[in-house]
Symmetry: C2
Subunit: 438 residues, 2 copies
């Protein structure tokens, strides 16, 4: 492959031609395969082309729904976008289970978001602190043109303060800003405000001090994706007796204790905690994706929270008291239902319509609910039948599609692997056997 | 909305009808909008329908490429799937920058993966330890039918050992298993082997002990997504003079020091660390998605690693020595280039073809390279022009599409906002002004 110049200036078709001819096999069928993933409506397709850069086509993720999610006495049909088999099935199963036991409960703990102007200044801290207090109102006033629209919706810049971090890095301070971004995730809003604050503060320092004290270096001005004060809680509760699982010969008490042990292990073993939380994010991210939110931001935030006490731990808790079982997830989660792609992506719009056009707070609750449902489903499988049975049953369908199995062959494979461990190799060999024999 | 029963048994069209009629607006156009996202080829569509459950249609993510990625002296064209604007542009810019300065270098540190059988046993630890050594070979032999295929490819079960965790939870032990899964991510393989080991070990304990010692509870048998020994490193290096940025009037030294400070801040400030790493995962996840890998697993692993010393920190490091600048990313990353969706998803297959059908190790290197490129691009913007200029220029296109701006209007808006902060509100008001005036 040779270095290509001006690639971004090529048209979409020219880009595809380049990739197929210079990088791939040069076949017309490959070119057509890539284009077959375009939307039929050119206008609709243009929306996706402009979301990102150097776009060739669309990558498909399965879009499904989980009906019967009972949250705070309201029945929801929750859209999920996820490529992993058995996640949606597990969520649906958990939702059904809990809909018969009072459903999910949720609470938004708080919704404040954070931004930081990181800067370096080498004068005396006390002077800077006093100066900051003097110009604080001027800084807030400076960004009014940027915040007035958010204020009219009930949000805006809540407060700014100066943080002395010179103990960690010579001359390092932060302007720490708290925001209420209403129903927006708010990244662009926060970043615009912070850059303006940083610029104004820099000007003020330069104009009001002399010598070394007038030298200020704004290193960066940017939101923080770690938002411990934008936090949600979701839980389920029932009598321990109601957890009886006759299918596995377990009493409610036995199940509750085994389940609680699995949750405790995720608190004390980092290798388990990672996997435990990964399962929670299977549920959360599927809602995040379906509603056009940013899963990298959600993941980074949740995992940082998971290690807030210095040890990385599972995000859920179980409480057993008397005959009561309570299972709970609490985590910071910053989502939007306006702005970003939420209204630009046609299917994100459909997702939000399916959820009844929720506020950002309600979407936090829904995502947390699905995270909790997912964790319940995973732990229930793990502590009873094991995870592979359900998962591989689902994945078997993928394998059969790949091996282009006929209906008859599908029947024989399913029968054969009813109680056997499913592997791609095993299925392929079994199918080869059948096909040879016939 | 009423509780629906048997939803999963409905056909795809019936599911869509149900959602549109019972949850959405009941309009035919909504029904058709959802179906317009199906692939035209029914067979091709079926693949996606079966990846997950309760599927209605496909959710689109923009599929783009970054050409000219020079990694270990090889030029790569890297596919990226990401919905966030400016990520691909930033990666392309960073790739171009470094292609003129020797390109990216990478190294796979190790590739071992981990699985655990968590169990409870209340006898004397020494007895169990000795028993485990006695039956260890039998356990390994038991899973030979499951591991033989992986062994023929050079991988398999590397070793199993007993871990005493009774200090953390009464009676808690683990069978700790290490695997080499070759070019597979290996989750299904590892889980199948662990479940078989757990079952066999449980049988052996029951058959060889009496009384309380024969009572063993296998809590769970499952892989760990935290794989610190499946790890990759990517770096760039150049003379500090080569970093000169005349556009921002910065010498190479000034840029290097400001950049290094930004990296250091992500090491000492948790709020910045989260956002810093989020940006790294913008690059990594885009490759993970494009190749049909599981981004939740990758995220959970990387963030757990980020807090391995008890404080959550940025994942990149800068080294300035004399006139040398070195910027490096190191993280655990478990990916596959066979199995899972890698060959089942037609566009994941195209992605792997575009990358020259890499081994899993090489894909680790590519993903890490894009993570590093992304972090370089983000920090470079942040510490020079600020993040908003480039980002909002990209996002402006989305806003203009949404507001259905004509070509003439687009020109006027771009001119107007050349040096102003772009907000949805601002653009809407400006456009309304033009439209009123005309």
């Amino acid at each position: 492959m040779k270095q290509v110049s001006g690639f971004s200036k090529l048209s979409k078709v020219e880009k595809i031609n380049y990739v197929v001819e210079e990088v791939l096999d040069g076949n017309l069928s490959t070119n057509e395969l890539i284009k077959s993933y375009w939307h039929d409506d050119e206008e609709e397709q243009k929306i996706f082309d402009d979301f990102s850069e150097n776009t060739l086509t669309n990558f498909y993720f399965p879009y499904g729904v989980v009906p019967n999610v009972l949250m705070n006495d309201e029945l929801l049909c929750v859209p999920m976008v996820i490529e992993e088999s058995s996640v949606v099935a597990a969520a649906a199963k958990a939702a059904k289970f809990w809909s018969k036991r009072g459903g999910f409960r949720t609470e938004v703990v708080s919704t404040n978001k954070i931004g930081q102007v990181h800067f370096i200044w080498h004068g005396e801290t006390a002077i800077l602190e006093s100066f900051f207090e003097d110009v604080k109102e001027e800084l807030i006033k400076e960004v009014k043109p940027l915040t007035k629209n958010m204020e009219s919706r009930g949000g805006g810049l809540i407060d700014i303060s100066l943080k002395n971090r010179t103990g960690d890095e010579p001359g390092y301070y932060q302007i720490w800003a708290e925001f209420n971004t209403c129903d927006a995730m708010g990244a662009n809003f926060i970043n615009s405000v912070l850059e303006a604050i940083g610029k104004k503060f820099s000007d003020l320092v330069e104009n009001n001090f002399e010598g070394v004290n007038s030298e200020i270096q704004v290193v960066m001005a940017i939101l923080s994706n770690y938002t411990p004060d934008c936090r949600v809680k979701a839980w389920v509760e029932c009598d321990i007796d109601e957890l009886e699982d006759p299918g596995h010969g377990m009493s409610g008490r036995e199940f509750a204790e085994k389940f609680a042990r699995a949750v405790r292990i995720a608190k004390i073993d980092v290798n388990r905690a990672t996997t435990h939380n990964k399962g929670i994010f299977n549920g959360i991210d599927a809602v995040v994706l379906a509603t056009g939110n940013d899963f990298r931001a959600v993941e980074a935030c949740g995992h940082t929270w998971a290690c807030r006490d210095g040890v990385y731990r599972g995000l859920t808790d179980v409480f057993l008291e008397g005959n009561k079982f309570r299972f709970q997830l609490e985590l910071p989660l910053s989502l939007g239902t306006v702005g970003g792609l939420t209204s630009l992506h046609p299917l994100a719009r459909i997702s939000l319509d399916t959820l009844g056009r929720p506020s950002a707070s309600k979407l936090m609750e829904i995502a947390a609910t699905l995270g909790l449902a997912q964790n319940f489903g995973a732990l229930r499988s793990l502590t009873t039948t094991g995870i592979q049975k359900g998962h591989m049953k689902m994945h078997l369908m993928n394998i059969l599609n790949h091996l282009e199995a006929s209906d008859e062959e599908r029947g024989l494979v399913k029968e054969k692997f009813e109680n056997e461990i499913i592997s791609f190799q095993g299925v392929r060999e079994f199918l080869a056997g059948i096909r040879n024999y016939q």
